[in-house]
Amino acid sequence: MAIIEIRTDITGTVWKVLKRVGDAVEEDEPILVLESMKMEIPVAAPERGIVEAIHVQEGETAPEGSVVARIEV
């Protein structure tokens, strides 16, 4: 059991949170979608796991490098 922090590579507004705490995610499956410069940027799970925490809400700005979610793998 390990916790992985998922960070965003770019600054964006959280457009849609697709998963909830406790949801299972596959590798590369999007957990949320950011909107930056009119583009949709999915933030995906780096590996298969369970969503342990989501640190952002829809409409909020997620700065570059910030932790947006954690998964337990």
């Binding site: 590579d9 770019i10 507004t13 930056s36 410069m37």
Partner: protein
């Protein structure tokens, strides 16, 4: 008309301020929190805050914009492109408030904005359209497999309310059709408030050529020749040029004629662009959509024809337009435009917001025009599109125009955000581009090579 409110930001707002000044009109800027110190705010005669950085709470707020019009005493509104420019309800709200709307009629915008209705109107006036299906209103997808078979693969699932490459997904065979259509419906419902989609044949090797038109509202219209906008990434244009290289004269004429028929049929009122997809092998062309606004790439046409399209828009709206004869609108030499974006081509064009720590552009001249909404030290935020500047070069012929652009880009120094400048240079130097053989698949097909190449 004495004072124009510009319901936009960035380079196009600056461009409209300049047109107003040239015509002796005062200008009113609006700005969000993120744009408080922006260039368009500095250039305009007056400026008013309209809310938070999120465009939905500022540049898309009709009530706040009309309130600024009242407070400032503006008597006309220019919408620029994007934001509210193609919302018929905004055009109506502006005229209902007793203001002059600088743009096509709400009816024109509504007719062309509904992509499916636009296709029907186009085919009714003899403009060829790409084989396509009827509409599927969310969440109904009944009969979509049959419609897919009729349209033929590969095809595109398109959102009726979409545009500019947003709300468009490619499907290569029936197995992915239903899921893709469903995803497009839900995305379109969220993004545009309308989940209606339709299917359209995808022409594998295609060029994107569009005709700049201007209608006088009485059935008369003129064209300003075509622009080739085939160099695209993620369905967004990055290089545009006029005239379209290698397009046979007969095709150019037929295309312009089709665009004018479409304008005449709807008594089109103002500047617009009729977009066509051209089969790169046969030069057969098909109507794609009509954009009822001034476009990002309009300076290409202005450089080539010596005409000021924004001034024409304003003059038409205030009833002072020159009755231009078609024969007086000549395409001279060749013009090329490059869009400098804050993005990282190496990361598949991922946005790169940040501060312009260094922002040096070559000096403008008769052959080089620069449209930008930024200065050194400005922040390019994630709230809006990634366009930093447009460079437009003119030459006696295509080679001269492209060489001039390569030189201009080589003298462009931007630091603090990652840009596509090196990528643009590589694209302009690529043998396929130099030969004038670019199709819409060019960037995808040569992406790795263009990212690696450090240009000529």
């Amino acid at each position: 008309m004495k004072k124009v409110l510009i319901a936009n930001r960035g380079e196009i707002a600056c461009r409209i301020v300049r047109a107003c000044r040239k015509l002796g009109l005062a200008s009113v800027a609006v700005y969000s929190e993120a744009d408080a110190g922006a260039l368009h705010v500095e250039l305009a005669d007056e400026a008013y805050a309209i809310g938070p950085s999120d465009a939905r709470e500022s540049y898309l707020r009709v009530d706040r914009i009309l309130d600024v019009a009242r407070r400032s005493g503006a008597d006309a509104v220019h919408p620029g492109y994007g934001f509210l420019s193609e919302r018929p309800s905004f055009a109506t709200a502006v005229t209902d408030a007793g203001l002059v709307w600088i743009g096509p009629s709400a009816q024109n915008i509504a007719d062309m904005g509904d992509k499916e209705r636009a296709r029907v109107i186009a085919s009714q006036c003899g403009v060829p359209v790409v084989p396509g299906s009827g509409r599927f209103d969310a969440p109904d997808l009944g009969g979509i497999e049959e419609a897919g078979a009729q349209v033929g693969y590969p095809l595109l699932v398109k959102a009726s309310a979409g545009g500019g490459g947003i709300g468009m997904r490619r499907v290569d065979d029936v197995s992915a059709l239903r899921a893709t259509a469903l995803a497009t419906q839900s995305m379109a419902a969220r993004a545009f408030g309308d989940g209606t989609v339709y299917l359209e044949r995808c022409i594998p090797v295609a060029r994107h050529v569009e005709v700049q038109v201007f209608g006088f509202g009485d059935g008369r219209a003129v064209h300003f020749h075509e622009r080739d906008c085939s160099t695209q990434r993620r369905f967004q244009k990055i290089i545009e040029e006029s005239p379209a290289p290698g397009l046979p004269a007969a095709t150019r004429e037929r295309m312009a004629g089709a665009a004018l028929r479409l304008c005449a049929a709807q008594r089109y009122d103002g500047a617009g662009t009729v977009e066509f997809i051209v089969d790169a092998a046969s030069f057969e062309f098909y109507f794609l959509e009509m954009n009822t606004r001034i476009q990002v790439e309009h300076p290409v046409t202005e450089m080539n024809t010596g005409r000021d399209l924004v001034a024409l828009q304003i003059d038409l709206a205030r009833g002072a337009v020159e009755r231009l004869a078609q024969a007086a609108i000549a395409s001279r030499g060749h013009a090329v435009e490059c869009r400098i974006y804050a993005e990282n081509p190496a990361k598949r064009f991922l946005p790169s917001p940040g501060t312009l720590e260094r922002f040096v552009l070559p000096p403008e001249s008769a052959q080089l025009r620069i449209d930008t909404g930024y200065r050194g030290g400005d922040r390019v935020t994630h709230f809006y599109d990634p366009l930093i500047a447009k460079l437009v070069c003119h030459g006696a012929d295509r080679t001269e125009a492209v060489d001039r652009m390569l030189d201009a880009l080589s003298r462009t120094e931007i630091a603090g955000v990652t840009t596509n400048v090196a990528f643009l240079r590589a694209a302009l130097s690529h043998p396929v581009f130099r030969a004038g053989d670019v199709s819409t698949g060019f960037v995808d097909a040569h992406w790795a090579e263009l990212v690696e190449r450090k240009a000529a």
